[in-house]
Subunit: 192 residues, 2 copies
């Protein structure tokens, strides 16, 4: 149940067996069915979640009813509306499961306790948000400079597992194009 998380943390911060065991106490395990929500826009995000199996997505719905995906989270990734989680403000995004999924949830107060009991994890969470920041910068840069086709090819290269695991219409939403456009782009690529 915690073996994936153990490797995940240990590849970033060195914890003793005992320290890691303390950390695990603060997580709650939860199974999500496909389409089940972990967070609704407007609610406060109570957890950050570590994905053990399956796949979730964080997205918003615009005023025309169209979904826009900010992030996928497959196994070995974290998911939350970090702003809402940290500030207690209502969430700007929804989070739901694209497939049946197992997640480990860390509540805000549990996280604070965890950090008290295992201060090394401060560093871990700093590294996490830094990695997130880097990825966001790159995605912004790509949205400014790359065509839909280029963004699609970069996506495949950067996230090969997501590419395999996630339906095309979801990838299109992540890339900021319609499923029809992505289908056309794919066709053009095969013809090259």
């Amino acid at each position: 149940m915690f073996s994936l998380l153990k490797n995940h943390i240990n590849s970033r911060v060195l914890l003793t067996e005992e320290e890691f065991n303390i950390c695990t106490k603060f997580f709650i395990s939860k199974k999500l069915k496909k389409h089940q929500f972990l967070l609704n826009e407007g609610d406060v995000c109570k957890y950050i979640g570590f994905v053990n199996t399956g796949c979730l997505r964080e997205y918003k719905i615009d005023n025309k009813g169209v979904e826009h995906i900010l992030q996928f989270a497959i196994e070995d990734w974290w998911v939350s509306d970090l702003n809402s989680f940290l500030t207690g403000l209502p969430a700007s995004y929804n989070i739901d499961a694209l497939q049946d999924s197992d997640v480990l949830l860390l509540e805000k107060s549990a996280r604070e306790e965890l950090l008290k009991n295992c201060p090394k994890m401060e560093r871990f969470f700093r590294l996490l948000i830094e990695a997130n920041h880097v990825a966001s910068q790159r995605r912004i840069a790509d949205s400014l400079s790359a065509s839909a086709e280029e963004r699609y090819l970069k996506f495949i290269k950067t996230y090969p597992k997501l590419f395999e695991q996630v339906p095309q219409n979801q990838i299109a939403s992540y890339l900021g194009i319609t499923p029809q456009s992505l289908s056309r782009i794919r066709k053009e690529l095969t013809q090259k």
Copy 2:
């Protein structure tokens, strides 16, 4: 010289007079002439900079030679290639001055000393990166869902000072459109 920084920090973290004075010791003041570089892509980003006066920008140049602006920093804002600064890896972006500017620079080792001498600042820097993360998420969401015209109007609303201070072609670059397109959009807006 430090009064702006003082208000900036105190609005986020409460420091005593003495604590703040300790912090100031770690900053280096630097004047930049318009067009002067603070960072070149490929170099390691040695500083994070707090802008006292003027305006800088963080940007990359794509393979066609076009500039794409990731961030502006006017007075009371921070600027750096955070990834490069934190990891020591070569920077992905350039930083230069759009106007003559005064900045306070904090070197990596100075920052570490500062944090040792004034641990309250840990919280400050965490809040800083969190705010950054929120802004990035919002910008990504906008790039997915909003038209160029909508992004322009949001920009004006969100950053009225930048709108006054920064040339249009730079704003266009930030929005991911050509200066000509922005000019056309502005014309259409006046006609509405």
